[in-house]
């Protein structure tokens, strides 16, 4: 079974994570979900891959990109897979991921 190139580290019911999922779905990108715990202290795996404990974080093995912060991730996905630059998703990000 081949694994999707994109791995999404997420927290159950985290709105910032759902925001990324919406974009992944809209762009028709397959991804695998790795769920972590609510407690930041329990998120060593996220820290190890991205340098931070916040989610969402993605690893895209197709491009070698690892990234956190939902605003950055959405921009990256649109830019890389969206076909058009700045495709009308200028939601503006103020950080604040979970």
């Amino acid at each position: 079974m081949s694994q999707p190139a994109i791995t999404l580290y997420r927290l159950q019911a985290c709105p910032y994570c759902e925001r990324v999922v919406r974009v992944l779905d809209r762009l028709g990108l397959s991804y695998r979900s790795r769920y972590v715990e609510p407690m930041h202290s329990e998120r060593n795996v996220v820290k190890r891959i991205s340098g931070k404990r916040s989610v969402p974080a993605i690893v895209d093995e197709g491009t070698g990109v690892t990234m956190s912060e939902s605003g950055n991730i959405v921009d990256y996905l649109e830019r890389t897979y969206g076909g058009t630059a700045n495709a009308g998703t200028a939601e503006g990000d103020v950080g604040g991921d979970a």
Binding site: M1, R32, S33, R34, Y35
Partner: protein, 169 residues
């Protein structure tokens, strides 16, 4: 032996030695995260698949104490399965069973598929796993199978230890 009749569990149609263990997909929990995994994808060498009662039941605790004491994770992949949620598995893995990964099967669908489902008296609506152990080779062929016939009952850990030694050389 106790001086009373223990509860005997009904006959069951479970995977036997020589058969291929049925594939399934559900969240697989390690000590850091969980993700959907299929058994076919996870098994790439000798593996011990153990079905056990809910996390927190003494049967689960004793089982993993035994797994730890015997150091089986250094010999092969040890995969647990119970109806407990990923959060409960993660808590269990924080306390014992280092190196073990545990499938989460809250609907008991996998337990039913394997013929090891068990309705617990006095806990209406909860179907869980009866204790069972399947030793698999890298092709998911069952090389040793044991399913509890009494409630409660533990696998014969010495016998399982020998079967593991035989399989892993």
């Amino acid at each position: 032996m106790p001086e009373f009749d223990v509860v005997t569990l009904p006959e069951t149609d479970h995977p036997e030695s020589g058969e291929v263990a049925p594939d399934f997909t559900c969240p697989l929990v390690n000590d850091e995260y969980w993700e959907d995994r299929s058994l076919a994808d996870v098994v790439d060498g000798p593996a011990l698949l153990v079905f056990h009662p809910m996390d927190g039941a003494f049967q689960a605790t004793y089982l993993y104490n035994e797994v730890d004491d015997r150091g089986w994770v250094t010999d092969l992949d040890v995969l647990g399965l119970s109806i407990s949620t990923p959060y409960e598995h993660k808590r269990l893995l924080g306390e014992r069973a280092a190196g073990v990964r545990i499938f989460s099967d809250p609907s008991a669908a996998v337990a039913r598929e394997y013929g090891v489902d068990h309705d617990i008296d006095g806990m209406t609506g909860i179907t869980e796993c009866r204790p069972a152990a399947f030793l698999l080779d890298g092709d998911r062929t069952v090389r040793y199978a044991w399913v509890a016939e009494e409630h409660p009952e533990f696998p014969d850990f010495d016998e399982l230890d020998e079967a593991i030694a035989e399989l892993t050389g």
